[in-house]
């Protein structure tokens, strides 16, 4: 099988939401001595970008994107394991969740998956997440960004509390903080000292990319 065919198979597996196919194509890439970095950048990356664009155009829906991202991740594991240590990709990591006292998650789910599609390592802590859990996870995973969502005015203050906690423990400079959710505004983000605010999934990805210096 030619290199072009293998790259095409990687692309197709992601576009077809096919984890088994993605694993098979990644293994073929290794066997055929295709540069793993090239397989990622020219096979998987354009496919997942296309998936993100389709989602943005509402041609496909959240579950499709999740399954496509799972297929990509399965292939990535194989390809990254074959990279020499000095060439291993260091992706920017994000810890995301809905703040304590709030059980709404649709917006957070969309942002989490769009960040994943954009190439970030995403740790989704779910709903009703305590300030300490966000910070502990971010430290444990060496995250670059903490992203918080809230759909209720009474859970929003937890966002400010997290920033305050980072300040009081001398960790504020360590993490970028972004916030979003129904009642959250740019004004509120500024007031609590957040680094960024995303009105929706698209905006959240743009803000995070800008904050961590990713194109």
């Amino acid at each position: 099988m030619s290199e072009e065919e293998i790259l095409g198979n990687l692309r197709q597996a992601v576009l077809n939401y096919d984890s088994d196919g993605a694993i098979k194509a990644a293994e073929e890439a290794i066997k055929a001595n295709v540069d793993p970095l090239k397989a990622i950048e020219e096979g998987l990356a354009p496919a997942i970008r296309e998936v993100g664009e389709r989602f943005h155009r509402y041609e496909i829906y959240l579950p499709h994107v999740i399954i496509a991202a799972d297929a990509m991740t399965a292939a990535m594991r194989i390809l990254e394991a074959a990279l020499p240590k000095d060439r291993v990709l260091k992706r920017k990591a994000i810890v995301i969740g809905t703040v304590e006292g709030d059980i709404h998650e649709i917006g957070k789910n969309v942002v989490a998956i769009m960040l994943k599609v954009a190439g970030f390592e995403v740790y989704d802590l779910g709903i009703d997440v305590k300030v300490s859990s966000f910070i502990d996870k971010a430290q444990a995973k060496g995250a670059d960004v903490i992203a918080m969502s809230s759909l209720m005015t009474t859970s929003m203050p937890n966002m400010g509390d997290l920033i305050e906690e980072l300040r009081s423990t001398n960790l504020r400079e360590r993490f970028k903080v972004v916030v979003g959710g129904g009642p959250v505004t740019q004004g509120y983000a500024d007031k609590i000292g957040s680094d960024g605010f995303g009105r929706d999934g698209d905006e959240a990805v743009k803000v995070v990319k800008r904050l961590v210096g990713v194109q």
Binding site: P63, I67, I103, H104, T154, N158
Partner: protein, 457 residues
């Protein structure tokens, strides 16, 4: 026999364990199967309002199959709650067709509307929006003054007595204050017996239960917003509160709309999910009043004005519930553009027309993503009622109504949502009237709607 809420709690403890993500992906897969099985393809239809009864009936059947095959998911225990087909059918039969709400001279009967009906619809004019405490009682009084108001929902506020509301003690205290503002506002409007609905300051049981108070809080003729979570998920604070409220007597209100693009998929999937959540809300929380439908993420984030095929999907949900159940449902009138703009009123008109033709009562007019003190004024609530009555007077059927909506939305579709003003900037809460600027905008939109065929008094 109708399932008991304690039995629901029992099943949530003993049902099959499943990870949340597996539930969500399984739900999507099942809905996709049901869409094919029941031949649901209405998102491709050009019409703005469904005119084919068999489509509505098929969507209802798909939703019942969904509940029987899949059940509901309890996020507190990570377990699945299953229902038998008989339990689902018994529950559908047992649901009330009308609710008696409020007390004394202010008692109202809130009932299921009729598709292409002639009778005026029931109305919840406002709240479910953020206001600062200083405006609380005055805002409530203004909305209660609307003659056609059947009940009022509470509002949320970020501070109580100047303190940030954070954590269970302050949440419970603020919840009681919300109920007190509602009570005082309706009293000042001369309607002390009007029904009020508690809007959760937080979703903890302590907040829900703190407002049970015949004197200063909720009475047995009032209601509580007990929304079933998206993706047919339930949780323990709601269930705990529902068990207690059921014994006191109340009406639960359920935000059962599906969001297109999420785990339920496209417009068809969101419609099936919405019908299912309406039925399950009654089964697990005893919700008697619902605002189902289909919403677009771009509407909810107030990014763009989006209509077709969402309007059509919403009409399928309403018709499905109307033709196959007693469910009392409302259209949530949530324009994405802000107050004191023409776009806001045009979007409001679209929702009011489509709801009226589809037998949906009208609910809590507000901006879809409201800023503080910028979610609603009594003017839009009055406008929503006027448009609904004018639609009835014009005798619009689904086909003609769809054509009218096509004309109206033609000027809005795909445009960015427009920023507007706060209530203080465009409405005088003391004199109970809009600013001159807003009054002028209102007059212009109303005239344009009359030119399009609506018959205003």
């Amino acid at each position: 026999m109708m399932i008991d809420l304690v039995e629901v709690a029992e099943r949530s403890r003993t049902g099959v364990k499943m990870a949340s993500r597996d539930w969500e992906l399984g739900l999507f897969k099942k809905i996709e199967e049901l869409i094919k099985e029941h031949n649901l393809g209405f998102s491709k239809a050009e019409e703005f309002l469904n005119t084919d009864n068999s489509v509505a009936d098929a969507a209802f059947k798909a939703a019942v199959d969904f509940i029987v095959d899949v059940g509901a998911y309890c996020i507190s225990t990570g377990r699945i709650i299953r229902f038998s087909e008989d339990e689902v059918k018994d529950a559908i039969k047992a649901a009330p067709r009308e609710i008696v709400m409020g007390e004394g001279k202010d008692v109202r009967i809130f009932k299921q509307g009729k598709i292409e009906g002639k009778e005026p619809l029931n109305i919840c004019p406002g709240h479910h929006a953020p206001f600062t405490e200083d405006l609380g009682t005055l805002v409530v009084k203004n909305f209660a003054q609307i003659p056609r108001a059947d009940f009022l929902e509470g509002f949320n506020f970020p501070e109580v007595d100047g303190r940030e509301i954070l954590g269970p003690p302050l949440e419970a205290y603020a919840s009681r204050k919300q109920a007190a503002y509602l009570r005082e506002g309706i009293r000042r409007a001369g309607k002390p017996g009007m029904a009020i609905v508690y809007y959760p300051i937080s979703t903890r049981a302590s907040s829900f239960l703190s407002v049970l108070d015949q004197e200063c809080g909720l009475r047995s003729t009032d209601g509580v917003l007990f929304t079933l979570l998206p993706d047919v998920k339930i949780e323990y604070d709601y269930l705990t509160s529902a068990i207690i409220y059921e014994q006191h007597g109340f009406f639960g209100v359920n935000g059962s709309f599906g969001i297109m693009g999420g785990f339920c998929g496209g417009p068809e999937g969101a419609a099936v999910e919405s019908i299912a959540r309406t039925i399950v809300g009654w089964m697990v929380y005893r919700d008697k009043l619902h605002y189902p439908g289909v919403e677009h993420m771009l509407t909810l984030t107030a990014t763009k004005m989006t209509f077709h095929p969402i309007n059509n999907a919403r009409s399928v949900v309403y018709q499905a519930l109307n033709r196959n159940s007693n469910a009392i449902y409302m259209e949530w009138v949530i324009p994405s553009s802000e107050l004191c703009t023409e776009e806001h009123l045009w979007e409001s008109a679209v929702r009011s027309i489509e709801g009226t033709i589809n037998g949906a009562n009208l609910y809590a007019h507000r901006v879809s993503r409201p800023r503080m003190n910028a979610g609603q004024t009594p003017l839009e609530a009055e406008f929503m009622i006027e448009v609904s009555d004018a639609t009835l007077k014009a005798g619009l059927k689904r086909g003609d109504g769809g054509e009218l909506l096509k004309k109206i939305t033609g000027r809005l579709e795909g445009r960015s949502s427009v920023q507007g003003k706060t209530i203080q900037e465009c409405y005088d809460l003391v004199k109970h009237r809009p600013s001159a600027e807003y009054g002028e905008i209102y007059g212009k939109v109303k005239k344009d709607l009359a030119d399009l065929g609506l018959e205003f008094e």
